[in-house]
C-alpha cells in the first residue's frame, strides 16, 4: 500500500440485481494530486464506480480504501469527499453563498472563517459578486462554477465530478474544461472525473481509465491511449480510426502480416494484441497517419479510389475505397503543397508499420 495513492479499489465488484455484474473485479489506484478520468459509454459502469467511491452505493464485493483506510462502512457524509453532480444539485432555496456555506455550517466552522472561505471559493471561480443570487438566477456556466466552488470550499483532498459539463453548450464546455483543469493544478486536489466525452477526457486528465462492460479496458495517460491503444475498443472509442479486419498470417517479433478480408490484400502491422497466427485481428490506423502519394519504401502502399472530399478548414477529410473497405478515412492537412486530389481519382496511399496496430478481433 503506497501513501501516494489517495484511493484504491481492490477487487471491487458491484451487482444491483444479483445476476449481472455492473463492475467486474475492479482494481484501480488514484494517485494523490492526480486528475483521473473514468471514460466510457453509458452503462459501462463508470458512474457506479464513482457512486461507490462517494458512498451512495455499496460494493457487492471487494474493498475501497481512502487514504489507506477502508471506507466500505463509512457513510457518505463522513468521507469528506467533495462532489460535483451532473445537474449541479445546487440547493434552489439557498443563495449561492448559503450553498457554499452549507458544508462549512455542518462542520461547525465559525461564522467568520466560513465567510472568508466562501468568498475565497467564489473569487476562485470568478463569481465574487454573485453570493446573494439564487442558483435559478444564474446561467448554466455560472451554476457549474458554483457547484465546483461548493465541492471545494471545505478543502477536501478528493473531488468527484459526475459528468459536470454535460448540460453546457460546446463553447462553454471547452472553456469550463480549461477552468477546471486550472483549478485542479492550482489547488493540487485529487480529482476523479466521469465523462463519456473523449475529448473532454483527453483535455483534462493526467490518466484516463477507459471503461466498457464493467471492466477497465485501458488505464493510461491521454497520449498513450491515443497513440497506443491496447485493444480495438479503446482504439475505437478514443479519437477517430480506420478499422480493417483480417487474419494474422505471420508474426515475426515486432511485425506481422495480416491478410485482409474481402481480398483486401496483405498489410504489415505492429502486433499489439493478437492471439497468434491464423487468428482474426482488427487493424487500427489513425486517419492522420495515412499518407497520400507516399515516399517509396513505406511499409504499406495501396491504390485507393477517392469517394468523397469534405473541406473542414484545417484539414480535408477524404473518404476513399481501399483494401476492400470504402469507409476508409484520410485526413489531409491543409498545408502548403498538400496533395490536390479530386473525387473519382485513383491515388496511392500508404502508412508505416508502427502506425498500424494489430489488435484483438
Amino acid at each position: 500500500m503506497s501513501q501516494d495513492n489517495i484511493v484504491e479499489f481492490n477487487h471491487v465488484q458491484k451487482s444491483y440485481d444479483g445476476e449481472t455484474l455492473v463492475v467486474k473485479d475492479l482494481n484501480l489506484h488514484v494517485a494523490r494530486g492526480e486528475f483521473l478520468t473514468l471514460l466510457g459509454p453509458s452503462g459501462s459502469g463508470k458512474t457506479t464506480v464513482l457512486m461507490m467511491l462517494a458512498g451512495f452505493e455499496v460494493p457487492t464485493h471487494g474493498e475501497i480504501l481512502l487514504n489507506g483506510t477502508p471506507i466500505n462502512a463509512v457513510p457518505p457524509h463522513k468521507r469528506g469527499i467533495g462532489m460535483v453532480f451532473q445537474n449541479y444539485a445546487l440547493f434552489p432555496h439557498m443563495t449561492v453563498a448559503e450553498n457554499l456555506r452549507f458544508p462549512l455550517d455542518v462542520r461547525k466552522i465559525s461564522r467568520a472563517d466560513a465567510e472568508k472561505k466562501v468568498q475565497r471559493a467564489l473569487d476562485m471561480v470568478r463569481l465574487g459578486q454573485f453570493g446573494n443570487r439564487r442558483p435559478g438566477q444564474l446561467s448554466g456556466g455560472q451554476q457549474q462554477r458554483v457547484a465546483v466552488a461548493r465541492a471545494l470550499v471545505f478543502d477536501p483532498d478528493l473531488v468527484l465530478m459526475d459528468e459536470p459539463l454535460g448540460a453546457l453548450d460546446k463553447n462553454l464546455r471547452e472553456e469550463m474544461q480549461l477552468e477546471i483543469k486550472h483549478i485542479h493544478e492550482q489547488l493540487g486536489v485529487s480529482v476523479v472525473y466521469v465523462t463519456h466525452d473523449q475529448s473532454e477526457a483527453l483535455t483534462m486528465s493526467n490518466r484516463i481509465a477507459v471503461f466498457d462492460d464493467g471492466v477497465i479496458q485501458q488505464l493510461a495517460a491521454p497520449d498513450m491511449l491515443y497513440e497506443e491503444p491496447d485493444n480495438a475498443f479503446v482504439a475505437y472509442f478514443i479519437g477517430e480510426n480506420n478499422r480493417l479486419h483480417g487474419i494474422v498470417k505471420q508474426v515475426n517479433g515486432k511485425s506481422c502480416e495480416v491478410e485482409l478480408e474481402n481480398n483486401g490484400g496483405t498489410v504489415k502491422a505492429l502486433p499489439v494484441n493478437v492471439a497468434g497466427e491464423g487468428q482474426r485481428t482488427t487493424l487500427s490506423l489513425r486517419p492522420e497517419r495515412v499518407e497520400v502519394n507516399p515516399t517509396n519504401g513505406i511499409d504499406n502502399s495501396f491504390d485507393a479510389r477517392v469517394e468523397e472530399l469534405i473541406y473542414l478548414g484545417d484539414h480535408i477529410r477524404t473518404r476513399v475505397r481501399v483494401c476492400g473497405n470504402d469507409e476508409f478515412v484520410i485526413k489531409i492537412p491543409n498545408a502548403h503543397g498538400h496533395a490536390r486530389i479530386n473525387r473519382g481519382d485513383t491515388v496511392k496511399v500508404g502508412w508505416a508499420l508502427q502506425d498500424c496496430r494489430a489488435l484483438d478481433a
Binding site: 457524509h77 468521507r79 444539485a89 440547493f91 432555496h93 452549507f102 455542518v106
Partner: protein, 427 residues
Amino acid sequence: MAQADITQDTGADGRLDKLTTADGTPLKVSIRRAMRRNKLIAFGLTAPLLFFIVFSFLMPIFDMASRSVENHQIPEAMPRTVAVLEGWNGQEVPGEAAFEALALDIQEGQRTRTIGRAATRLNYQEAGMRSLIMGSARRADQLEPPYKQALLEVDDDWGDLDVWRLIKRESGYYTASYYLNAIDLTYSDTGEIVAQPEYRQIYVMLFVRTLWMSALITGLALLLGFPVAHLLATLPARHANLLMILVLLPFWTSLLVRTTTWIVVLQTEGVLNDMMVWLGVISDDGRLQMIYNQIGTIVAMTQILLPFMILPLYSVMKGISPSYMRAAKSLGARPPVAFWRVYVPQTIPGMGAGGILVFILAIGYYITPALVGGQSGQLISNYIAYHMQQSLNWGLAAAIGTILLAGVLLLYATYNRIVGIDNMKLG
C-alpha cells in the same frame, strides 16, 4: 380602420409600415386583423366557462353578500312609518302622526300580505315584534282615528319607546345588525353597539374554534401526509401505484360512508373501544368518548382531507431530484440534517398548497362535524347551514358566510404576502 390610410407611406428612413401584403393591405394591418381573429376565437372558446363562472359562482356570492346587509322589508312594508320617523327625535313615544302612518302601513300591509315580512324581520332583532305587528294586523280593519289610542288598545306595547327606536333603527334599506349579530354584538335599547348577553354569545367562540380546529386538522394532515407523500415519491413505480390507489380510495367513497365508518370505529361500543377493552388498556366502564365531540370531528376530517395534503406534496416531492440529498450528504451533512435543511425546504410549495387547501376546505366543512361532532365539535359552517335551513334567518347566515369568505381571502392574501402564491404547486 385608420391605419388603412398609411399604406403608401414612403418614409425615407425605410420604415417597415410601408410593407404590404400581396393584395396591397399594409402588413401591420393584416397581422393585426389575423391576431384579432385569433383573440376572438380564443375568447369564444373560453366564453362558456366565463359565463358559467359569472352566473353560477360570482353572482350567487354577490347575492349572498348583499343579503347580509339588505333590509328592504321595513322600508317597503312600512314606507309611511319610516318617512314619519325620519324626523323623530327618539326621546319619547312619537305622536299621532307616527301612529297614523303605522296604522295605514299595517292596514295596507295586511291587504297586500307584506307586513308579515317586516314582522319576521323585526322579530330577529327583538322577540315579540312579530306578534305585536301581526296581532295588530289581524285587527287592522278595526283601526280608526285617533290611531294612537286605537293601536294602544290593540296592544299597549306600541307605547314602548324601544319598539319605536327599533323600527327607526331598522328603517333603512341596509342594516348592520346581521353582522353585529354574527360577531355576538347587538344594539342596546338606546342604539349603542354592545355585546350580546353572555347567554347568547356563540359565534365568536365558533369562529375561534373553527380556526383552531382547522389549523389542527391541517397540522395533523401534514404530519400524517408528509411521510406518505415521501414514500409515494420515492418508492418504485409498481409499489407507488398501489399506494396511490390506497390514498385515492377514500376519494371514490361517498363522504357519508366514510364518516359513518368512523362512527362504527370510534363510538363507545365501537371497534376501537372494544379492542382496547379486550387488550385491557381500558376497563369496560372506562370506555373512551371519542366521537360526538371534538375528537370525532378532528379524526374524521383529518382522514377525509388527507388526500388534499398528500397529492400536492407528492407532486412537489416527485420533482425533487434525489441528487439534492446526495449532494447534501457529500457535503458532510448527516442524513437528518440533509433532510431537514435541504429536502424539507424544497417541499414548502407543496406544504403551502396542501396546507391552504386543507385549511380552506376544513373551515367550510359541515357534513362531517354535523354527523360526528356532537356539540363541542360543531363548526361555524354548521350554524350557517342551521340558519339557512332551520331558523331561516338568511341574512344572518349570509353575514356569517361573508365573514368566513373574507377570512379566507385575508388568509390567502397573507399567504401570498409571506410565501408567494406563485410558490404554490398543486400538481
